[in-house]
């Protein structure tokens, strides 16, 4: 076993052991604190291994893998399970493990007031999540990736529904599960099609153009669900019912990025399907703009960030659709850092103010400068302010999309960049500047070290990651040179003017803006959600009723008819049984005589 493979296995299996151990020992889990210690210890080891693996990959070429046969069909091995180490998986693994570790440490403070049993359950889920996500990232084929994909879906369900006694949280968990499961059917059928066409679950197969288009479109359906693209984005804002650190880890940084990761991983297949890429470009750009518009009107700080996540995932999908894998993947990485930072800083503010509503905040910068600073750094990175990580990756995406499809997606993404800067500016100004608008906001104070430390770590990475685009590109088999083109200048201008507008409008406190109110009307109509609800009621339920009727009256009817006819036949034959012995004797004699006659005469 090579060095790299060992590290990958350590990173993969340590959280698995932590999760298994905690699952098997309810006595320890229900104590709370020890469970947290075990999970975080597992994550520290996992992150250490992932970091060493990342550094190792920086100066070694090629891929390394360790696999064991998994599924046999007809004497052949149909699928293997194991680890696959290359630049893509090593960098993703490091990102996932780092953000997971930050979020888990943050949770120590954030979930402090939970009862010990729930505290332990929370950390057990986190260990399970890290294992699941690593399974996905390190997968040597798409089937194992699918297994990890489903596992993160389960942990997402468990963590969204963490406060399962609250009906809205339980509903949100079920909704997230259903919507993503619907999309996963696409992924599954894509996998089966791929296997039938190429005889393996690998991502390097050469396929016929039509087959490649079908497979990748089916995969993309899974991506649309997992990465919350229009029209299956509806679960992500609802998923904010989960604890805020969960939103940071699963629903911003890592799990929702799994869809993008799938496209990066299966890029050799997507390369063969230009049609799919066009669909991705259009849908990604559309989602980016649509979600950015919705983010403008949210009053709940987590909902703003949720729609912003949809929007940024749209950026990544558009970049992948434009054919630039590195742009998409790099934006995934920087986004993971600054969006996790934004969520954790928002969590810190929520923890202090006891409310998600921006209307209840205000003036927090004076009380909690570190949180405010962290949030502002995240917001500026997201807005694409030059020098911060988001600027570099967003610029790459815009560069990739420029000129494609008559530049319409490019214009949409530029508009999104402006809107993004505007709504993030609005949140920063309203939540952290001005005057406090609630009692809690007046008495807000900084959290303890466990919540500050992750903020600092993520803030540093949100700033500096952009400067490592070169090595990162090298790791992913790409090249990167920074150059400040006209497009980048336009994007910078739009971003800064968005921030400036937000400041000009809101530095005196919340106010009504006609354009925002108009969009709010559209958002309040919940058109997409209502479409699904209507569809469910009018199509699914009606169809179910019809099938129930068929089952009750046609299928059951036939069976009942058969039974009834049997009873009737029995009743018709009852008179034969007279109970009078000589009659039976007569029948016997006639029978024997007939047999005798047959024996003699035949």
């Amino acid at each position: 076993m090579s060095h790299a493979v060992t590290l990958a296995l350590v990173a993969l299996l340590t959280p698995a052991f932590a999760a298994l151990f905690l699952a098997a020992t309810p006595m320890i889990r229900r104590q709370g604190k020890p469970a947290a210690a075990i999970t975080i210890l597992g994550s520290v080891v996992s992150f250490g291994a992932a970091l060493m693996l990342f550094l190792d990959r920086l100066h070694s070429e090629g891929t390394e893998r360790l696999v064991v046969p998994w599924i046999h069909t007809g004497g052949k091995i149909a699928a293997e399970a194991g680890v696959h180490v290359d630049g893509v998986s090593a960098s993703m693994l490091a990102v996932v493990c780092f953000v997971a570790l930050c979020v888990q440490v943050f949770s120590l403070g954030y979930m402090h007031d939970e009862p010990p049993a729930d505290f332990g359950r929370y950390f057990t889920y986190h260990a399970l999540f890290l294992f699941s996500m690593n399974t996905l990232v390190i997968a040597p084929n798409l089937l194992q990736l699918f297994v990890g994909w489903e596992l993160v879906g389960v942990t997402s369900y468990l963590l969204i529904g963490f406060y399962f006694k609250k009906p809205s949280a339980a509903h949100a968990a079920v909704k997230a599960f259903w919507v993503t499961k619907f999309a996963d059917m696409g992924f599954l059928f894509g996998l089966l099609t791929l296997f039938v066409a190429s005889g393996s679950f690998g991502w390097t197969a050469k396929l016929d153009p039509e087959v490649a288009t079908a497979v990748t479109l089916l995969f993309f359906l899974g991506v649309v669900g997992k990465s919350a693209q229009f029209p299956l984005h509806v679960w992500l804002p609802d998923a904010m019912e989960g604890p805020t650190p969960v939103s940071a880890l699963l629903h911003a940084a890592t799990m929702v990025a799994a869809g993008v990761f799938l496209v990066v991983r299966a890029n050799p297949l997507f390369e063969q399907a230009p049609t799919t890429r066009t669909v991705m470009l259009v849908l990604g750009a559309g989602t980016a703009l649509f979600a950015a518009l919705l983010a403008m009107v949210q009053t709940d700080i987590k909902k703003v960030l949720a729609y912003s996540t949809c929007s940024q995932l749209g950026y990544m999908v558009a970049a992948l659709g434009a054919g630039s894998v590195f742009a998409g993947f790099f934006h995934l990485t920087t986004h993971a850092f600054f969006k996790a930072l934004l969520f954790l800083a928002a969590g810190s503010a929520i923890h202090a103010v006891h409310s998600n509503e921006i209307g209840q905040m205000g003036g927090l910068a004076k009380k909690m400068p570190l949180t405010a600073g962290a949030f502002t750094i995240g917001a500026l990175a997201l807005a694409g302010v030059p020098g911060l990580s988001g600027f570099f990756s967003k610029d790459l995406v815009l560069e990739a999309v420029e000129g494609k499809l008559g530049s319409i997606p490019y214009v949409m993404l530029l508009a999104t960049a402006f809107l993004t800067a505007f709504y993030m500016g609005k949140v920063v100004v309203l939540a952290f500047f001005g005057t406090p608008r609630s009692e809690h906001a007046k008495h807000a104070h900084e959290p303890d070290w466990s919540m500050k430390l992750p903020l600092v770590g993520l803030a540093i990475l949100s700033v500096v990651t952009g400067y490592f685009a070169g090595p990162f590109a090298h790791l992913n088999g790409s090249h990167y040179h920074f150059h400040l083109g006209l497009g980048a200048m336009v994007a910078i201008g739009l971003g800064l003017s968005g921030l400036g507008m937000a400041w000009a409008m809101f530095n005196k406190g919340p106010r009504e803006v006609a354009a925002i109110t108009a969009i709010d009307g559209i958002a309040k109509s919940r058109a997409v959600n209502r479409f699904y609800e209507y569809g469910f009621r009018k199509v699914t339920l009606v169809l179910s009723d019809l099938l129930a009727w068929i089952d009750r009256y046609v299928v059951d009817g036939l069976i009942n008819l058969l039974g009834y006819k049997t009873i009737e036949a029995g009743r018709a034959m009852r008179p034969l049984q007279t109970g009078f012995a000589p009659d039976y004797v007569l029948a016997l004699v006639v029978g024997v005589a007939s047999l005798a006659a047959w024996a003699v005469l035949r």
């Binding site: 009852r574 008179p575 049984q577 007279t578 109970g579 009078f580 012995a581 000589p582 004699v589």
Partner: protein, 99 residues
């Protein structure tokens, strides 16, 4: 006395037995009819032993007699039981199995 005479006699006995079996209503009479049929069969055994040589037929007849005795014992026990439960020995009384 030829083979045919003896077999005709046995057939006649058997037919009388069947007739009694089908027409009598008294269980004792039915039992007697059954005895007639059994003895017709015994007669056939003995007849073939007499005309074809060998002793198997006679031995079989003896076995058959012993079996018939046992059968009569069981049959009469049933008759007594019928008399005790129904107060008479008419076969049509025992028709509880009628649908």
């Amino acid at each position: 006395m030829t083979l045919s005479h003896c077999l005709l006699l046995a057939t006649a006995l058997f037919s009388v037995g069947i007739y009694g079996l089908l027409t009598r209503r008294q269980v004792v009479a039915i039992l007697l009819s059954v005895e007639l049929m059994a003895n017709a069969a015994n007669l056939v055994f003995v007849t073939f032993s007499r005309f074809k040589g060998g002793a198997q037929g006679q031995i079989f007849a003896l076995f058959s007699l012993a079996l018939t005795v046992a059968e009569v014992a069981v049959g009469l026990a049933l008759v007594i039981l019928l008399y005790r439960t129904h107060g008479d020995t008419r076969v049509d009384l025992a028709s509880e199995m009628k649908s």
